[in-house]
């Protein structure tokens, strides 16, 4: 993707709040954007590193809860005598904390879970998410359990007397999500086309061979998990301070599945895949709702679409589009030999 194309796309996206007046539509774009960030983070672990992590929503939720809790302040009885009390902190700090907490849990999961592989790893990752879910439901003193954390403060930057930027209104939040998404995209792109990214891909493609040339398997699996988890945590924090209410349902397995669907249908080894998948499955529910289709039916549609895409386009939509574009270029009489990726660029 050339520089100019990127500038144009970003410019177009940045202009959206100027001409989209419907707050409802902006709301959809914001939530879709948040989900895209989460999907990109999952793609790093699932797509590029090839690890079947199905507990990803745990990191999203931990980011959300950690950020919300720090911004609201909390008090827990660690033992019968000792009470841990934390006063509310500024939202920007809480969001950073949420990211950090998610990354830390990614580190913990990575260190523990990668002792097993394949189907067993899938089960560990799902179990991890479920344990976190149950903790959120049952540790009522900290998380308010099913009664949810509400009145989560919105993000405000700056000092109250001088200049204050409040991310309460939707257009402002749109820019916040957009810029975060762009930063995350750039980070992933840099990572993937670096030697660390190549190590992750090597692990996915041929682990014994990767070991034989000096790639420390555990180190790179954990790295992928930490970055992936931290990014999901950012998405969670953004979510918490946008909807401003967080309950344990955030940890439901179905949300991990949604992210997986986005990544897989979009194209799990590409940078653009989770974006395409995120757009489709972020907007699809709204489209279906507009057609007055019941929520259950919507999930059935999701499930069926996923099955179809997996059968027909196993690599996902973006690679299929790329193949189609490449084959058209090859058959066009005016172009020269097929355009090759620059040496060393990720496929």
């Amino acid at each position: 993707m050339t520089r100019w194309k990127s500038v144009l796309i970003i410019g177009f996206l940045a202009s959206i709040p100027l001409w989209v007046t419907s707050f409802y539509f902006l709301h959809i774009l914001i939530t879709t954007g948040i989900f895209i960030i989460a999907a990109m983070s999952l793609n790093l672990l699932l797509g590029f590193t090839g690890q079947l992590s199905l507990g990803h929503v745990a990191f999203f939720g931990i980011g959300a809860y950690a950020s919300a809790l720090l911004s609201l302040g909390f008090e827990v009885h660690v033992t019968n005598d000792f009470v841990l009390g934390v006063a509310p902190k500024p939202v920007w700090l809480s969001m950073l904390f949420g990211t950090f907490a998610a990354g830390l849990s990614g580190f913990a999961l990575g260190k523990i879970a990668f002792k097993v592989r394949g189907a067993y790893f899938v089960i560990v990752s799902i179990s991890f998410a479920e344990v976190v879910h149950l903790v959120a439901v049952n540790w009522v003193e900290l998380t308010q359990g099913p009664m949810a954390l509400n009145n989560i403060p919105p993000l405000k930057l700056g000092t109250p007397q001088l200049l204050e930027l409040s991310f309460l209104r939707k257009p402002a939040y749109f820019y916040l999500v957009l810029s975060t998404a762009i930063v995350c995209y750039v980070i992933i792109r840099r990572l993937v086309s670096s030697h660390a990214g190549r190590a992750m891909i090597a692990l996915r493609e041929n682990e014994p061979l990767a070991m034989s040339i000096g790639i420390d398997v555990t180190r790179y699996l954990v790295l992928a998990t930490v970055v992936s988890a931290a990014m999901a945590g950012v998405a969670g924090a953004l979510y918490a301070h946008y909807v401003r209410i967080v309950d344990p349902d955030i940890f439901l397995f179905i949300y991990t599945v949604t992210m997986v669907i986005m990544v897989v249908t979009g194209g799990k080894r590409t940078l653009a895949g989770p974006i395409v998948g995120g757009i489709i499955f972020g907007l699809l529910p709204e489209l279906l709702r507009a057609l007055a289709i019941k929520p259950e039916m919507q999930w059935i549609v999701f499930g069926v679409i996923m099955i179809f895409v997996v059968f027909l386009l196993p690599q996902g939509i973006v690679p299929a589009l790329e193949d189609w574009r490449n084959s058209r270029k090859r058959h066009s009489p005016n172009t020269g030999p097929p355009v090759q990726a620059a040496p060393g660029a990720p496929p």
Binding site: E130, I254, M297, I300, I307
Partner: protein, 290 residues
């Protein structure tokens, strides 16, 4: 002491159910190497079939039980034939995603058909529990336990004493050699998946009348089934049986003496602990099905 014994008694029934779920899943997991995300839905399906037959259609309780199981077998065979068979040569992640898609579709179909309201199923047993000294247990639960044991025993017999079972064991140990020896692998896969699904449906049909029937009941059941499989070791029938009872006991003790909210966490914690410290399961000497 009485409380402890009462917990043990409660755990027996649940243990039988968990064992049923675990046996079906360990066969599927072991022979087909598929992470079967639809297992929980077959459990729910069995329960819903019981509801439909007994409460809506007025079919005799015991006939409905058998029918629900048979329908579960049929649904399992259909899933294998329509979906899994096409994915024989695909990666594990593709197969998993298709199974997840099927799980979503099944659960939401159930929600659409029966609404999310919890349904109950009448049972023909006396309401008064059997009293043994200071312990009590309901007739229904005794029935569930007995039938579960019968089904488990029948499965053992099938796997260990019949030619079909021998073919299944051969496929588990060494697929290529089994195929060379004339075992029709595709047929074994269908049979295995159908059998495992049938056992799950039976478990749901048995337990439905004891508790209530909801569309999401399958999720926890699936999680516990996986815990049992991992406890016992993939493909290990005896391990799965024992694992089912161990999980039930762990849950009952946890509920009784720690906290009821974390009851369901027991299964997950056990999964994580076992996979970390003894990935082949508590009982596996070497992988085998018998």
């Amino acid at each position: 002491m009485d409380q402890f014994l009462q917990h043990c008694l409660n755990a027996l029934m649940l243990g039988g159910i968990y064992a049923l779920l675990g046996i079906g899943l360990t066969l599927i997991f072991g022979i087909m190497r598929v992470v079967n995300f639809t297992h929980g839905e077959l459990y729910a399906f069995g329960a819903y079939m019981m509801y439909a037959l007994v409460t809506r259609l007025g079919v005799d309780f015991f006939v409905a039980l058998a029918l629900a199981t048979v329908l579960g077998v049929a649904l399992g065979a259909a899933i294998e034939f329509v979906l899994l068979r096409q994915l024989r040569s695909s990666d594990i992640d593709v197969t998993m995603l298709v199974m997840i898609g099927a799980w979503i579709a099944l659960q939401n179909a159930e929600q659409l058909a029966w609404t999310g309201v919890a349904q109950s199923i009448a049972n023909p047993f006396p309401a008064d529990p059997i009293v043994l000294g200071r312990l009590s247990v309901s007739w229904n639960r005794v029935f569930v336990f007995v039938v579960a044991i019968m089904l488990i025993t029948a499965t053992y017999f099938l796997v260990n004493r019949t030619r079909l079972g021998m073919a299944m064991r051969a496929t588990f140990q060494d697929r290529e050699t089994a195929a060379l020896m004339g075992v029709r692998i595709e047929r074994i896969h269908t049979v295995t998946f159908a059998l495992g699904s049938g056992l799950a449906a039976a478990a749901g049909a048995l337990l439905g009348p004891v508790f209530v029937v909801t569309p999401t009941m399958g999720d926890l059941a699936a999680a516990k089934a996986f815990a049992v499989v991992i406890l016992g070791g993939m493909g290990n029938l005896l391990g799965a049986t024992l694992g089912g009872f161990i999980l039930a006991f762990a849950e009952e003790i946890g509920v009784g003496y720690i906290s009821s909210g974390y009851r369901d966490a027991m299964g997950f914690l056990l999964i994580i602990l076992i996979l970390l410290f003894r990935p082949t399961g508590l009982f596996a000497r070497k992988e085998r099905i018998s």
